[in-house]
Every structure is written in structure tokens, then in C-alpha cells.
């Protein structure tokens, strides 16, 4: 605003007239009110756009068959039922699918965040000859999606052989020793430990940018106090990167939960939730047998059951998100350097 400038000018000429200041104060207040008005209008409009699909899902998932042909039903169904959720629960085999997802997700997320942070720090703070080249390769790995390398990867985990130790044994026994890791969570753990998990490269990139923005004084102080690079990292950098860590944790959880391409490749039996959801349409016959529906009924309620299933799949994420929201906001609040 021009307030400060006007005051400054007046101050230099030592002609400090009250009217000028009051005019400016009024102008400033008007500006603030307009800004607030604009802000709230904007947020209300955006909320509608962003919440529309969810409201739509909820509204449709609660509908009974009678409401499907009723043109007067727009948002609030006349016959609210929870039957669709019941069917979806059975089709998804929900509790089991959630268990499978969590077995994969929790260790993966922790390993992935820590490893990405370490590698990002290595890229941000140390100079070595091949750094730029490796960083270019890292960018390349972000771009190449799993689809291009999924079949070789599949073969790798089907006949898993860590660092070719199996081949070495094979020289003596005549038959190379391999392990089948499919249908276990191990492919995910291994990929994440070696910084090649779902979108790992992106997280490394984000952490690198974050650490490059951290003031060097912290590390210099630690160095003088006799910290080695690893203890500096663990004691100084990690506590200071809380904001970035929580942000990335949220992302890792969300993407592991929503991923279905990789999971569908590596799991045949113990399917996670997202994969079950894709199969939901094909499994409709299950409720046909269990509840004695005709195929016309299935055709009618099919999309509603699918919508109920969608809600059930995102519900845990929403709960995690709402719980984590507070810490999340606080972590964003924290400025880079404290005290």
C-alpha cells in the first residue's frame, strides 16, 4: 500500500497533516474489506467445484431403486438405504482388502520417506563429480512411468535374485537359486528401500529443493561441534524438515493407497483395495447369487453399488487426512529456522 510511502514522504517534509493519514486509513480499510469479500466468494465457489463429486457420490450411494426413476430427486434421496454399502462391502471383501493394503502400505511409506530424504540431502549438500549427471538421470526416472519397465520388473520379482547371489550359488549347484516374491509385500519394500518405489524420484526431487533452501549455518555449527555428516543429518536436518516430512508422508500414503497398476502386477491373491475396486463391476454376479437378484436389478443398481464402493475406498483416506490436517497445517506454518 501507499500508506507507508505517503507517511514517509510526509515525514521527510515534516508536514504531517491529519487529513491525509485518515484518508489513507479509510482507503486501507476499504481495501481489506474488499479483499476479504473476494476471498470468501472465491473460496465458496471453489468449495462447490471441489466438493461436488463427493456430494454426488454420497447422494447416489444412499439411493434405493425407487429413486432412480424419480425426476424430483436431485440431491436428497427419498428412500435412504445403506444397502448399497452392504453389497459393496461383500463385493470388495472390504476388511480383508484393507488388511492387505495396510500390510503393504505402512512399512513402505516409512521406508520410502526416510530413504528419499537421505538421498535428497545427499544431492542437495554434497559436491561430487557425477552429481549433475545423476540428477539428470533422476529427472529421467520421474518421467518414465512404471508401464515401460513393468514386464522386466515382473520377471525380476518372479525370479528374484538379489545382487546375483543366486547365480553364484548356481555355479556350484548347477541350478540358479531364485525366490518368487510375487504375492508378498516384499517387492514394494525392496523397491522403496532402493528409492525406486511409486514416485520416489519425485519425493527425492522435492527434498533436494527443500534442503537446498535450508540455511548452511546450521550444518556449519554442527560441524564445528564435532558432528559427522550422518549425525548432522539425523539430529539437525530431520527435525528441521518436519514440514516437508509430513507433506511427503501424506503424499506417499495417498499414492500407495490409490495405486492400482503396480499392485495389480505384483499381487494375484492378496489384492489391495484399489485393485478390488476395479474388479467390482466384474464381480456383480456374487451379489446376484447371494441376494437373489435378477440381472435387470443388477443393471439398475450397478452404478450405485460402484459409487458406494468408491466412497468406502476413499473413506479411510479422508479420515486420515482430517486427523492429520491439524499437524499438517502446523507443519506448514513452521518457518525454516527456529529460534
Amino acid at each position: 500500500m501507499k500508506v507507508a510511502r505517503a507517511i514517509k514522504i510526509n515525514y521527510t517534509f515534516e508536514k504531517f497533516r491529519i487529513t491525509d493519514v485518515s484518508k489513507l486509513v479509510f482507503k486501507k480499510n476499504l481495501f481489506i474489506v474488499l479483499k476479504k469479500l473476494f476471498l470468501y466468494t472465491f473460496i465458496i465457489c471453489m468449495s462447490y467445484i471441489l466438493l461436488y463429486p463427493i456430494l454426488f457420490l454420497i447422494s447416489n450411494a444412499l439411493r434405493a431403486k425407487e429413486d432412480l426413476f424419480d425426476p424430483s430427486v436431485i440431491w436428497i434421496p427419498k428412500h435412504i438405504t445403506f444397502k448399497n454399502f452392504e453389497y459393496a462391502n461383500m463385493l470388495l471383501s472390504y476388511p480383508l482388502a484393507i488388511k492387505n493394503t495396510l500390510i503393504i502400505l505402512i512399512p513402505s511409506v516409512i521406508i520410502q520417506t526416510f530413504i528419499c530424504m537421505m538421498v535428497g540431502y545427499g544431492f542437495a549438500r554434497f559436491r561430487f563429480a557425477e552429481r549433475e549427471l545423476l540428477f539428470g538421470i533422476l529427472l529421467f526416472t520421474i518421467i518414465v512411468p512404471m508401464q515401460t519397465i513393468i514386464v522386466p520388473l515382473y520377471m525380476k520379482f518372479r525370479y528374484f535374485d538379489f545382487l546375483y547371489i543366486g547365480k553364484l550359488i548356481g555355479i556350484f549347484t548347477g541350478k540358479p537359486m531364485t525366490i518368487n516374491l510375487l504375492d508378498t509385500p516384499w517387492p514394494f519394500y525392496i523397491l522403496n528401500f532402493f528409492g525406486m518405489g511409486i514416485r520416489s524420484s519425485l519425493y527425492i526431487f522435492v527434498f533436494r529443493q527443500f534442503f537446498r533452501n535450508m540455511p548452511v549455518e546450521l550444518e556449519e555449527a554442527a560441524k564445528i561441534d564435532g558432528c559427522g555428516p550422518f549425525s548432522t543429518f539425523l539430529r539437525i536436518m530431520v527435525p528441521n524438515a518436519t514440514g516437508a516430512i509430513i507433506t511427503i508422508l501424506l503424499f506417499t500414503i495417498v499414492w500407495h493407497w490409490n495405486d492400482y497398476y503396480v499392485s495389480a502386477m505384483f499381487c494375484n491373491e492378496n489384492l489391495p483395495v484399489s485393485v478390488m475396486l476395479t474388479a467390482l463391476n466384474n464381480r456383480m454376479s456374487m451379489i446376484q447369487d447371494a441376494y437373489g437378484f435378477s440381472s435387470d436389478d443388477i443393471y439398475l443398481i450397478g452404478s450405485n453399488v460402484l459409487e458406494a464402493g468408491c466412497l468406502m475406498v476413499i473413506l479411510p483416506l479422508i479420515i486420515v487426512y482430517i486427523i492429520g490436517q491439524r499437524y499438517f497445517t502446523e507443519s506448514i506454518e513452521r518457518t525454516g529456522i527456529v529460534g
Binding site: F56, V119, R127, Q147, L202, P229, Y260, E307, C310
Partner: protein, 306 residues
Amino acid sequence: MQRTNLFKIFPKRKLTLRQKEALYGRLFILPWLIGLVIFFIIPFINSIYYTFHKIRLGDSGLEFEFIGWENYIYAFTKDPDYLKNLTSSITNMLYEVPIVIIFSVFVAYLLKDDFKGRTFARTIFFFPVIIASGVVITVLKENVLGSNTSSMVASSTTIFKAENLRAVMINAGVPRWFSMYIVDIVNKIFDLTWRSGVQILLILAALHNIPKSFYEVAIIEGATEWEKFWKITFPMISPTILVAVIYSIIDYFTDYGNQVMRMVVNQANNGKFEYSTTLAITYFLVVMIIILIVNRIIGKRVVYLT
């Protein structure tokens, strides 16, 4: 008299500071480096190996027949869709990504300050992050945005369409190409809003990392809000903007809605794995070049504190 140690093959050298630094840096990125070689480069080379072959399922597993550059020649000269889809997705990207970035910076700047209901607003704005990746969005697009005619529910795409706007603009004498462009953007508002959750988050985190003392100095020096934004905020968040731009480009190119990606997945599903890989690899080389150009252009203007 000094005793020489005959058993010492490697004399103990003291590393210089620079060598030490390099050593530690390499140690820090070691896990990623191993993973890169085993789980990325080798599979990638295997994939490239596939593109020069015809793959058949024989009795003893996969059978490879060497056909040279055949797949590539087919993709660029005979395939009716590939080049068309490639150029159209690149041109679309060129105007969609800036809009997403400007929108995210704008929203992040709004959400930065304290106001009543900020927590609610933030919760709402990051909502797409949770849903927009994954299976659910596909279902949503089919059912909510109404491309699926088989669903019984009345489609509601009209809410986010701007047919009337086009009529108004053409009647007002706006050039046709320009009005088409504007209407196109308005039609995509829903999509773009849904795509900018992650970017908003990144930029918001960056905004909160700017030391407050900078602004205090600016106020004392008599800077206006406008100057504060362009001279402090924008330079300070420029590294994050670079990340956000690159993220948006990748997000756009690897989206399942992208025509080329859809071709890749379809070819793989039809069992033409070698051709699908060929498409994917050429496509991502093009994307890589675009990203390197963007990185070079923006990277020069990025301000780092250190």
C-alpha cells in the same frame, strides 16, 4: 629409525576436505544408486531390447524375433494416430500447465494468511490430492462428468460447460479462435482445479518457509504489497515453482486421460507389448527433452538463498 610396514599395501592417505565431501555425498545417495541400476536401468535396457523384436508366446516362454527398427518406423510413418496425438498433447500441455501454476500460486497466496475458516478452506483445497490419483477419479469422470451414457443418473456435465459463453462472445464480435480458446479453458476449469492440489500444497509450504524478517524489512523500507510479492515472495518460492512446473508437466503427460498414454496401455492390453514399449519409450524421450528445455529456461531464473 622408522619401521616400514611391509603388510600395508595401501598406505593410509588422508583425504582432502573435498574428497571427503564427495565420499559422504556418494554414501548418502548409495541406496538410490543401487536401486537405479538394478530396478531401473537393467529393466529399461530390457524394454529397449524388446522394441527391436517381435515377441511371440512360444512353448518355452517368450520367443524373440529380431526385426530391427521396424516398430519405430511403423510408429512414426504408418501409425495413423501416434504423431497426431503426440503433437496435440504437447500443444495442450503448453497452455494448460501455466494456467495450473498461476492458479496454484494464486490459491496458495490466498490460503497463506490467517482468516476465519482457513483450516476448512485448506482441507477443501487439498481434497483433490486424495481422490484425483487412482481408480476413484476414473469412476467419477465416467459417472459424475457424464461421459457414461449407460448410467441411469441424469448427466450433469452442463454445470461445468460454457456453451452460452461461446454464443455471447461470438455475438460480441470476439475473434473466433480467441473465443474458442477461452471457452476451452472455461470448460477445463473443473479438470484444472482438480489437478492443482499437489502444486498448491508445495507452494504453500514454500511460502511458509520464507523468513518473516524479509517482510519486516520491506515494510520499513516502504514497499507496497505488489512490490513485496514480486521482489520477495516470488523469488523466494521460485525453486518450488520449478518443482511444481516439472511436476505438472509430468502429471499431464502420464495422466491416464492423455491420448498417448491411453494408446500405450491399449497396445499393451492387446498383447502387442513390443509396440506399446516402443510408443512409450519414444514418447518419454520427447517429454524428457521438453522437461530439460523447461528446466534450463526456468532454472536460470531460480533464486537460491545459499
